[in-house]
Symmetry: C2
Subunit: 107 residues, 2 copies
């Protein structure tokens, strides 16, 4: 498990480091990460159950990882302190919801 | 990232499946998982910074992954609905704090 956690931490750092704020994801970094690193998981959200995105106000017909509107709304729903950046823990909540739904724990 | 998430989900399921409640971790399953899967990360909590465990009322001198008292207090702090079992999302919070601290995001 530790190596898997290391992968998630290092990937977050890789995408977060693209601009000056090295420890947070801007919207562009977040979109780039979701599109390239979570293509299947976010797509599954689209087909299987939209509970995560709908609960966060993202309309059902626009939930596509590469669709800027989806990323924008998703980012706003995760960006708890509204500073336009995602901290690791804010980002971690998305991964938790993705993993929870992917693991079949939330029917 | 998706494969790393799959590892975390499948490991959770492996440990959770040892008793009848297949989708949650009992205290014994949680201890077994923490001891065997997170030995270094939880140990680092002990030496580097105890903020996570102290914030959850676990005394500084007893934070050892295999120490039942630590696991017991940690479990209580995570078990939000106090049913003696950890759901995936309750467990996910621990992993998030471990990863957050391990990634150096929380100084």
């Amino acid at each position: 498990m530790e190596s898997a956690i290391n992968v998630l931490v290092s990937q977050f750092k890789t995408y977060a480091a693209k601009d000056d704020s090295k420890n947070t994801l801007s919207k562009e970094e977040f979109q780039s990460l979701v599109t390239s690193q979570l293509p299947n998981f976010v797509k599954n959200y689209k087909t299987n159950s939209k509970w995560f995105l709908i609960r966060r106000g993202v309309s059902a017909d626009s939930q596509n990882a590469s669709d800027p509107a989806t990323v924008d709304q998703l980012m706003k729903s995760l960006d708890e302190n509204n500073d336009g950046e995602l901290t690791f823990l804010e980002f971690w909540k998305l991964i938790g919801s993705v993993a929870n739904q992917h693991g079949g724990f939330s029917q």
